[in-house]
């Protein structure tokens, strides 16, 4: 039996400091600072304590593209970012469209032992959008898949989308849609805008996202099924989702850190590190997404962590792969974006950017709500005695300067290289055991 651990003087949800005692995999007690003892002490003086973060949207690349990321390296990156659970997207090779593949991913996650790796099952065979994958077999497998997505590709056929939404009701699954009309985005390279016109890059119009979301919320309402919208990127999409929620439609939505921080202006460098799908949008879209995160229209922040080897970014724009790293920078960005005062979130970082951080909201957006959407029972639990001890402990007194080479991910395609982000992850507890201590893997 493992020894007891004392997390000393941390501030749950940014509130008054307490001592948290962990025995086995659970929180045993929460006590006044200085009153508790344990076999091992982790100093959390001045730190914010959050429920371990849960990412609903991660690309771990294994099996098939282990030169970009592995379940092990991705688990390490996740732990260092404060996560205790990630959902591994299905666009691997082979595609995670059978019970065999999802069980392989799930088992490898357990072997790595740093986070819960929850496989996402493909909606359609081979992500080809033609025939439903064996959703029931994946749900009934040891991996107990509950989230299904063809992420990277849109389930575009409206009848197939309807059937998928209906079918997963049998096991309380959710379809996570990558909303992108393929015909409206053929060859698309960046947000369609004045800038795309000037740069001569084929545009990815907002309507290609918004029209699919509009269709899907109506389908979800019609079938009474749960819909989750991946990486919402436009102000118009926010409006559609806000309307759907006002009508009581069963939809949840996510925004990525990069869509909450970065704008399309970066594309004018033609540096493919800024190439991502959906693309970076206008400042007005960023503002709308931030407002939607704060008012609850957007339910969660999810990373869309998308590692790519150097050769896939060290090239001309059109040839480059789409995607950005996100696991190790997500919390720092959230800390400056999710604030009680809407105007204080600054895009340039800095330590005082976190004075007004709304930690209760971050716990909801990055742990409680994604655990609920993904049906992960052991995650997103409140910080109280009896809960599974999944904890992220964050030090607001320091700053982190991002460098692609220093990240644990096997790839280096971070758009934030050189950025100074507020704070740093100090310790992480995964099921009662330290996965990160003093900013390094335990």
């Amino acid at each position: 039996m493992s020894d007891s651990i004392l997390v000393r003087a941390g501030r749950p949800y940014g509130q008054e400091p307490v001592d948290i005692v962990i025995e086995g995999d659970r929180i045993a007690a929460i006590a006044e600072v200085g009153t508790a003892t344990a076999d091992r002490v982790l100093d959390a003086q001045g730190c914010v304590v959050l429920p371990g973060l849960v990412d609903l949207h991660t690309h771990l690349r294994e099996p098939g593209r282990e030169h970009a990321e592995t379940i092990e390296s991705g688990s390490q990156a996740a732990a260092l970012g404060g996560f205790t659970c990630v959902h591994a997207m299905a666009n691997t090779s082979p595609v995670a469209d059978t019970a065999g593949v999802v069980e392989q991913v799930w088992r490898r996650g357990i072997e790595c032992g740093l986070v819960d790796v929850r496989p996402v099952g493909a909606v359609t065979v081979g992500l080809e959008g033609r025939q439903l994958a064996e959703l029931g077999a994946m749900a009934s497998s040891a991996a107990a898949v509950r989230v299904f997505s063809d992420d990277g590709l849109c389930v575009h056929d409206p009848l197939l989308m309807r059937r998928a939404l209906e079918y997963v009701k049998a096991f309380d699954g959710v379809v996570a849609q990558h909303a992108q009309d393929p015909r409206l985005t053929e060859g698309a390279q960046m947000n369609e805008s004045e800038l795309s016109g000037r740069l001569g890059l084929a545009g990815w119009p907002a309507v290609a996202e918004e029209s699919i979301i509009a269709r899907d919320v109506l389908l979800a309402a019609h079938t009474g099924s749960r819909l989750h919208v991946c990486h919402v990127s436009t102000a118009g999409s926010v409006e559609v989702i806000r309307w759907a929620k006002s009508r009581g439609m069963p939809v949840t939505a996510e925004a990525t850190p990069h869509h909450l921080l970065l704008t399309e202006e970066l594309v004018s460098t033609f540096d493919p590190v800024y190439k991502v799908n959906p693309p970076l949008r206008r400042r007005a879209d960023v503002e709308a997404l931030r407002a939607a995160v704060l008012d609850g229209t957007i339910d969660i922040i999810a990373t869309d962590h998308a590692p790519h080897p150097r050769e896939d970014k060290d090239c001309e724009w059109a040839a480059a792969a789409m995607g950005m790293l996100g696991l190790e920078t997500a919390l720092g960005i959230a800390a400056q974006v999710v604030t009680r005062d809407e105007n204080s979130g600054s895009a340039d970082g800095g330590a005082d950017a976190t004075d007004s951080t709304d930690w209760q909201a971050i716990a909801q957006l990055m742990s409680v709500a994604p655990a609920r959407i993904g049906q992960v029972a052991d995650q997103g639990q409140p910080i109280e005695p009896g809960s599974i001890a999944n904890l992220a402990i964050w030090d607001p007194s320091v700053e982190t300067t991002v460098s692609g080479e220093r990240l644990a991910s096997r790839s280096g395609n971070t758009p934030y290289a050189g950025f100074t982000l507020p704070g740093a992850v100090r310790h992480v507890l995964f099921r009662g055991r330290p996965s990160v201590v003093d900013g390094g893997l335990a």
Partner: protein
């Protein structure tokens, strides 16, 4: 003062552009002599790196470099990294290892010359010879040179000149570079196209926009007709060539709407019978062949200025004019 690279017409100030055009004018008189070569770039290595076939642009640059006595290497990179060939980076590193002083790049991907210039792969000058649907700055310079010869007696800028650019603006690097450069030189530009072939946000460009060529032609000093590619039909940009030609093609009837002195430009290659009728293409008002000649002089001027030639030197070389 123009910098180390020529990537975009938008990077040129009016003074830069006039200087290039003036230099091209000087070089034109020099190369009218029986001995057409200048020793200016002797010992310098210039590479034409073409990922897309474009014989006319490549030989124009090649001739320009040779007339300045540079060593010229033609590197026809068949396909790009998009088609699993050697990557742009490895090609660039190879050229750097061979000591290229300038790389003239034509690439199907918008922004490829920016990567070449800014990714730290090479040290030499980069000249954009056309990147995707982005820019083609030397084409804009040769067009400006041609316009200036006809409309402004070959000197100064193009203040007040009225120029229409007609055709597939959306996919045209020639249009983007021309709108920027002609505007910088003081011209009033109108782009004319069916709405499907205008880029999103064209109303923010420094030009007027029209869907109706017949409205515009009576008020221009020059019209530039762009090539329209048949494959655009597949993308539903217009119903068919015949309808396009009827609504936007320049034929004798339409040319008669233009003021008497107005000229017709085309960057080539022309689709006779589509955007331009044979009668117009062969008429004395069409300056298409002159554009080709001017292209060599303008490209000489760009190489000359980027690779450190000095105007004084040029004046001595060309003293017998």
């Amino acid at each position: 003062m123009i910098g180390r690279h020529l990537l975009s017409a938008q990077d040129l100030t009016s003074a830069d552009a006039v200087r290039i055009l003036d230099t091209a004018g000087e070089l034109a008189t020099v190369t009218d002599r029986s001995v057409k070569k200048l020793p200016t770039l002797r010992g310098r290595t210039v590479v034409t790196l073409f990922f897309e076939d474009s014989t006319r642009t490549r030989i124009s640059f090649e001739l320009a470099a040779k007339r300045l006595s540079a060593d010229v290497i033609n590197f026809a990179a068949k396909g790009s990294s998009l088609s699993k060939g050697e990557s742009l980076k490895d090609t660039a590193l190879t050229l750097e290892a061979m000591g290229a002083d300038a790389v003239i790049i034509r690439h199907g991907a918008s922004g490829a010359p920016y990567r070449l210039a800014n990714a730290g792969w090479i040290q030499g000058s980069v000249i954009n010879a056309g990147d995707g649907t982005h820019e083609h700055p030397t084409q804009a310079l040769l067009d400006a040179f041609t316009l200036r010869n006809h409309l402004r007696a070959g000197s100064g800028d193009l203040a007040g000149a009225r120029v229409a650019i007609v055709g597939d603006i959306l996919h045209s690097r020639v249009a983007r570079s021309n709108v920027a450069l002609l505007r910088t030189l003081g011209a009033q530009v109108t782009v004319v196209a069916p709405p499907t072939l205008l880029p999103y946000g064209v109303h923010t460009w420094p030009c007027d926009v029209s869907y109706d060529i017949d409205d515009v032609l009576p008020h221009v000093d020059a019209v530039m007709m762009l090539r329209v590619q048949a494959e655009r039909m597949a993308g539903s940009y217009f119903p068919n060539e015949l309808e396009y030609s009827r609504r936007y093609g320049l034929d004798s009837r339409r040319m008669a709407l233009m003021p008497d002195e107005a000229i017709v430009l085309h960057p080539g290659p022309m689709n006779r019978g589509v955007e331009i009728s044979a009668e117009v293409a062969d008429s004395p008002r069409a300056v298409v062949v002159e554009q080709v000649t001017n292209g060599v002089h303008v490209r000489m001027a760009v190489l000359y200025l980027l690779l450190g030639g000095r105007p004084e030197e040029l004046m001595v070389e060309g003293a017998d004019r």
